[in-house]
């Protein structure tokens, strides 16, 4: 009788251990990841650490939504630009949070 009890208890311990190892540590969810991005500085670093190693690219490191203009899905092969094509680049820098006229 005593040895049957020991066997049953041992099996229970074994089952509990297996569950703890296999099922008790859920994979981080997307929601948890997005919360970490706006958490403490250390939280954002932890989030970066949890991500699996991937080839560097413009789009895959962070869950920041891409703007429509960031055409990362564009065809890799595209014809050369037409000779003599005009371009305009409008640019700013060091606006330092100014929204109103100043100076």
């Amino acid at each position: 009788m005593r040895s049957r009890c020991v066997v049953i208890m041992s099996l229970s311990v074994l089952l509990l251990s297996s569950w703890l190892v296999a099922g008790c540590s859920p994979a981080p969810s997307a929601e948890a990841g997005s919360k970490a991005l706006v958490g403490t500085p250390s939280a954002s670093v932890r989030q970066a650490k949890q991500e699996p190693a991937r080839a560097p690219s413009a789009t895959r490191y962070y869950d920041v939504p891409l703007p429509p203009a960031t055409a990362t899905a564009m065809a890799l092969q595209s014809p050369a630009p037409a000779d003599g094509l005009k371009l305009t680049i409008l640019h700013t820098n060091d606006s330092r949070g100014f929204v109103d006229p100043c100076g």
Binding site: P41, E51, A58, M74, K86, T88, I89, F98, P101, G103
Partner: protein
């Protein structure tokens, strides 16, 4: 007379876009989110909303963009409809980029590769050095160069390194077609040319809008760059949408008056 303001800037941008029959890009070289009171009070939200409304295509991260820490910057990047870029601002421990290192976009049949690069002084903001690191700009750009180059016709670097550093960068990485810079607060009515790289930047505090017109040849090489300084003076009408946006933020975040600060 006071110059600048996002409402005047928006008017000019809209006008140029409406008149242009060719691709127009709108970019910012950084140190943009923080500094002025309303921007600080709103933790940079007013700036991101204004830039969303103006249709910015990309922005580099500079020193002042980290003034409220890494988490605030990443949160604002999540609200922006354009990428905030830095290829050399990385996490301190694993040295992974904290933001997108580059963006690819296509406009009018031209593929643009845009890299952002941040100055080392960006680490001086409170709490930033503990979680972030700024890697060598040249090495970082060279790391991403092959994959960006093969997917783009025109390679642009948005740099907050300073104009002397931009010149050195152009010498070290001659594949760069254009460097839109910041930090030196130079008003460059004539762009610098180093090798075949065009270098420009446009003042400070949002008082001017820079315009660079150029022609591309069939190899994607930039030809005949012409720079223009657009002063945002009182003669420029204020865009109603941007004016209302700023007013709404002022209601939410009352500005301290002289009496209140006594």
């Amino acid at each position: 007379m006071p110059k600048g303001g996002v409402a005047r800037r928006a008017t000019k941008i809209k006008g140029i876009r409406e008149q242009a029959e060719h691709p127009v890009l709108l970019v910012d070289a950084g140190s943009t989110l923080f500094g002025q009171m309303l921007a600080l009070q709103s933790e940079g939200r007013v700036i991101i909303e204004a830039m969303n409304a103006m249709g910015y295509d990309a922005m580099a991260v500079g020193e002042l963009d980290l003034a409220k820490g890494v988490d605030t910057l990443i949160a604002r990047a999540g609200e922006a409809r354009f990428p905030l870029l830095s290829c050399n601002l990385v996490s301190a421990q694993e040295q992974k980029p904290l933001l997108k290192p580059y963006a690819l976009l296509e406009r009018g049949g031209v593929r643009f590769g845009i890299l952002g690069v941040t100055e080392p002084q960006a680490l001086d903001a409170p709490g930033v050095r503990e979680v972030a690191q700024v890697l060598d700009p040249v090495t970082s750009i060279q790391k991403y160069l092959p994959e960006v180059k093969k997917q783009s016709d025109v390679l642009i670097v948005l740099s907050h390194l300073g104009v002397e550093e931009d010149r050195a960068l152009a010498q070290a990485v001659p594949e760069i077609d254009l460097i839109v810079g910041g930090r030196s607060k130079r008003l460059m009515s004539v762009p610098d040319i180093v090798g075949s790289t065009v270098i420009t930047q446009m003042g400070y505090d949002g008082e001017w809008l820079g315009r660079l017109d150029m022609t591309l040849d069939s190899q994607g090489q930039v030809r005949d760059p012409q720079s223009a300084v657009i002063e945002l003076g009182p003669d420029v009408a204020e865009d109603a949408e941007l004016k209302a946006l700023v007013a709404s933020y002022k209601e939410r975040f009352p500005q301290p008056t002289t009496e209140a600060t006594k």
